[in-house]
Subunit: 185 residues, 2 copies
């Protein structure tokens, strides 16, 4: 196999924000020429598939400014500096939905947009949910409706394009696959 690595010659930071930063790198291409790469840096995130005792999925409805649209997603949140991803997952689940989970299994991790961003997303399945009495502990700029849906209802929300992001569609497909595996056993 050819070596495809692109070594950085020089990198300029354009922006450092609260969520992302942006840099432009001059790189040495595999053929010896130079090229430019735009690099969005993100701290990484977790997402949770919270399953209730009666088999429903707990989801959050929120406005996503980049899309100019209110969408339904599985709960998710950015990793905090130095925080274990399991801890982030339990924290975000409770903050966004009011549920504590007794168990958490890592389903998978993937890069969301490898062409321009380094965001990695860790997806957990959360079981043993217990609803807390206190209200949600949302960030001051976070506004959310919590809903609980069946797998069939989630598939309907995909049809209606209310569910329309990669992690949530991956999660629904995963649950469909699990359902089919259980049926065929």
């Amino acid at each position: 196999m050819k070596n495809l690595e692109e070594k950085t010659i020089r990198e300029e930071t354009i922006f450092k924000g609260r969520v992302v930063s942006l840099a432009v790198a001059d790189v040495r291409l595999p053929n010896g020429e130079t090229g430019k790469r735009e690099l969005v840096r993100h701290p990484g995130a977790v997402a949770i598939i919270p399953l209730t005792h009666d088999g429903k999925i707990v989801m959050v409805e929120q406005y996503r400014k980049p899309l100019e649209k209110t969408v339904v997603e599985i709960p998710a949140g950015k990793m905090e500096q130095g925080e274990q991803r399991e801890k982030t997952a339990l924290r975000e689940l409770e903050e966004e939905t009011g549920y504590k989970a007794s168990g958490l299994d890592l389903l998978t991790s993937f890069y969301t947009a490898p062409g321009f961003a380094d965001e990695i997303l860790h997806i957990f399945v959360a079981k043993g949910l217990r609803q807390q009495k206190n209200s949600l502990a949302l960030d001051e700029d976070e506004f959310i409706n919590v809903i609980e849906v069946t797998l069939e209802e989630a598939k309907q929300l995909i049809e209606e394009e209310s569910i329309c992001d990669a992690k949530t569609m991956y999660a629904i497909q995963y649950l469909e696959l699990q359902h089919l595996k259980e049926e065929s056993n």
Copy 2:
């Protein structure tokens, strides 16, 4: 349901690049307060699941500078201004793998990173592949190895973390689901 919309008060463009642009918006939050949103803008992209006559998946190995890693993905590419997404898909498939497809079905579309970016990705399944004699027509800064793998080999590449991005893992899970559906019929 509460109205969760965040209206833009003011928006500043920070960067306009070849792949992405970046803006920061001051928004009116649902509670009347103001907040800031970082918005990465992207022209959108297509990805293709190319299936050969003998049931293999055609994939591309390339270096992803944001990840500092060589990874295996399904073929994909940015949409060009004014180009139909089916045309983009057929063009990218041929440029990156040397295959022409006789048929193309839209599997789904999703936003890859709705928390900070507006990139939408349209995923097509391509069948009726015919290998072209001429060599690949890659962009001048694009370097790719083409590989053909079975579904089992693709799952092994996920285990090894060579396949590690959302669209490709969604695609593999889709093929697994299709395989299971066919078996149970």
